[in-house]
Symmetry: C2
Subunit: 371 residues, 2 copies
């Protein structure tokens, strides 16, 4: 079988776990952070650089690629891997989240979602079948079911109706999906309500997907609320399938997710803050534009082994970022992605060694986070 998840290790004192997921473009060791390549490029990075920092899998956005350059063009190019020259695993989202973000410019029906393009206002329609058609054209290794992601503050009754619609759509996605070189993941919804999360998990897992995502988190709710849901939601999913928490990517969120049994994460956060000159370091996040760094001829993070930290100073990177030089954006992005890839690799080691608690404690203390 092309897709196989192997659970390699379960931590005894946390719910963290290590695993391996096989795809047609290589194995993914979990827990894993997936950099986002919205428009068929992880902003500023070349594929070789992504490889160099041990990126295992990247994410592409169906909504953006559907509108431009179009999934038909990408299919003609031989698929997204070929188009962007990335030969590792790729995951595409369903487009659902982006479409629902359009707020007053979309209308949801049983059939699907009618919306106005954010680009030119043209009328577009995406149904579960259409989302799968697009994702089959793009040809990612892992694709996502088309779900509705309601606002976390929506009425409970609405969230219940919405999760039931998401279940019906999930079935239609499964029916529409015919490529056996792609794994279609299901998504559970249910907002911040435990009973609704349970209902959604029951309905979605009954459809037997090769992996599951927890949707509707990290959408504006408080950290406490997110952690509350994460305290039980992963347990509603089968242990022998990968679990993906969508839209999460700060060091703290990664730790908290991993300790609660999450295997996969994605977020634009590390790459977006990098382009604003903010970088992760073992001593906490720093904003390199700050005048403090003007004459600091040391690396971004003295404890980091990455190419950037081996070759460039804070003073130089600050100069580049202040002058809007592209090399500056490249260096901060490279470093931030290396930092997260490295962090996830170390978490894996710590899980195997049954030292995740101590590892987190040390990291938080130096990084300046409260436990």
């Amino acid at each position: 079988m092309t897709f196989e998840y192997t659970l390699q290790k379960e931590s005894t004192d946390t719910k963290a776990r290590c695993g391996e997921f096989t795809t047609p473009h290589g194995k993914i060791e979990t827990p894993v952070f997936m950099p986002v390549g919205t428009k068929a490029t992880v902003k500023t990075m070349s594929p070789e650089e992504l490889e160099e920092i041990d990126t295992q899998i990247i994410l592409g956005n169906t909504y953006h690629l559907y509108l431009r350059p179009g999934h038909d063009l990408i299919e003609e190019a031989g698929g997204l891997h070929e188009f962007m020259n990335w030969n590792g695993p790729i995951l595409t989202d369903s487009g659902g989240f982006q479409v629902f973000s359009l707020a007053d410019r979309r209308e949801i029906s049983e059939e699907g979602v009618e919306f106005q393009s954010h680009l030119d206002g043209s009328k577009e329609f995406i149904s579960p079948e259409k989302s799968i058609e697009i994702q089959m054209g793009l040809g990612a290794d892992i694709i996502m079911a088309f779900d509705e992601c309601p606002a976390h503050s929506a009425e409970k009754e609405y969230i219940k109706e919405s999760l039931e619609l998401t279940t019906r759509w999930a079935k239609r996605c499964q029916q529409a999906h015919t490529r056996d070189d792609q794994a279609l993941f299901g998504i559970i919804q249910g907002g911040m309500h435990r009973d609704l999360r349970e209902q959604s998990a029951e309905e979605i897992t009954a459809l037997d997907f090769p992996g599951y995502a927890i949707g509707g988190l990290s959408v504006g709710e408080s950290k406490e609320l997110m952690h509350e849901v994460l305290d039980y939601a992963p347990d509603l999913l089968p242990a022998d399938k990968p679990r993906y928490l969508m839209g999460v990517g700060t060091p703290q969120d990664l730790f908290e997710g991993v300790m609660r049994g999450i295997d996969m994460f994605d977020c634009v956060f590390p790459t977006r803050i990098a382009r604003n000159g903010a970088v992760f370091t073992s001593q906490g996040r720093i904003t390199i534009r700050n005048a403090t760094y003007k004459r600091q001829f040391t690396s971004l993070d003295p404890e980091c082994d990455c190419y950037v930290c081996q070759n460039y100073t804070r003073a130089y990177i600050r100069h580049l970022i202040k002058r809007n030089e592209i090399l500056g954006l490249r260096l901060t992005t490279y470093h931030n992605l290396y930092f997260l890839n490295d962090l996830m690799a170390k978490m894996r080691q710590a899980i195997f060694a049954e030292e995740l608690f101590e590892f987190r404690e040390n990291f938080y203390r130096k990084y300046g986070l409260e436990l």
Copy 2:
């Protein structure tokens, strides 16, 4: 001696020549094109990428680096090589050209030039001594004398007075310059007047510099006028020293300069047009934004061996450029610089083989240029 120019070959049917110039950071094989790294970075490129495409020497701009981040900061970092992590040869200009471009915001006296910074309007003063002080702080391998570059349309009398001022300034530069790990090049002026070019060359070469530049060309005059001056100006310079034509960098200008005895060139042209999506190909220049290329799944230039042409299609690069993705700017810049480096290497081969005429003819025919 640290700096040595060896004339390796003189073409018999053109004035083209091959040579080698030794610097503390390595040898430069001439004729050579020097990519411009105005603000301590060749826009979009990493130092490793510059090396990968066999870049022999890069240029930094004294005016920009003096204003920001300041030559004192760069000196503190260990010099420009260390600051930007480029270990090959570097040339810095004198700042003169940028200062004179400020037009109505500068005033020239015997002492030097008072000007208002283009950034914040602050009053600044650069004299020959100051230019050399800055350039010694930056620590490039080759530095330039501070000259006046009058408008090509200026009165002949003004141009004569100006070139005489440039001579007096050249002497002061020589006196101020004390680093023996830097070669200070002289610059001849004289506008489009043969007698003034002769006078300037006589005065400047009498000072015995290790290399000479021809200034005041490619500043808005017609190609015919530039070629007219290039027909005799290089011959006014000693054959046993490198000759540098400042601000020139189209394929045609490189051919025409090389055939008239020029050894070194620099220009922002190839990198600037790259960021607008224009790329050199063996069939002529193309603008990749054009709709024609939307579904062309072939390389930028089918005859090119560079990393970009081996790995990416016109369709993908067009998509990136249209979406303002940084990787797009990286790929077009990389390709254009590779193209010029490769062109210069092939010109060298052709000079050695006494085939420069044929090589140019073939290139022009395919590129769509008239002979």
